[in-house]
Symmetry: none
Subunit: 119 residues, 2 copies
């Protein structure tokens, strides 16, 4: 079973999604992330999807789910690296990722997490 | 095919809609904007519609779509210059542009973007 690695960067966690997630991989990622947030006390989570050429409604819902779970555990999630064409498709699908923070790239996402921290 | 120009103003992009957009023009504008936001790393987008005497439901939905797409890409959209009569018609059509930030004019819109930046 493929498992997506979760990297620890100081107060934050970083996940880079590079494969088209199947149901099981997505569920595992959710569980791993929830466990990691609790264990490390991470304040934020960055999910980089710049490697994905397509984000279907399943991945979209998974991202919303992860964001909700981490928020409940006290960590802010920022999804970064969504490509322009992907953004257009998501909105056309009616999935505008409401409630999920997004940023152009990892650097901006990190700045957003730092700002959320200070607030 | 008509193409609506996108101007770069420092950290922001400015689009002035002066013609009644047809489907193709609107789709092109969406794509051009998504590409520009990614390329320039713009933090905000101002859409001036003061030249429009009428905003129908198609244009209304296009504005909401653009706002959603840019948000996913990390940029804030502010629609400025909606005329009083247009605002009345929009609400009568049941299109109150929920989720889209609006301001009276470009100056106010710019102030709104600056405030969103600092937040």
């Amino acid at each position: 079973m493929e498992r997506i690695p979760i990297l620890r960067m100081g107060k934050y966690l970083l996940v880079t999604i590079q494969i088209d997630m199947q149901d099981q991989t997505a569920l595992l990622l959710q569980e791993d992330l929830a466990t990691m947030v609790e264990k490390t006390g991470a304040h934020g989570l960055l999910i980089d999807v710049s490697a994905l050429e397509m984000v279907d409604s399943f991945i979209g819902r998974t991202l919303v789910g992860i964001s909700d779970i981490c928020r409940i555990l006290g960590a802010t999630t920022v999804v970064v690296g969504i490509r322009p064409a992907v953004a257009i498709t998501l909105v056309e699908l009616g999935l505008s990722l409401g409630g999920v923070k997004t940023a152009l790239n990892v650097e901006r996402g990190m700045a957003m997490l730092n700002a959320a921290q200070d607030a």
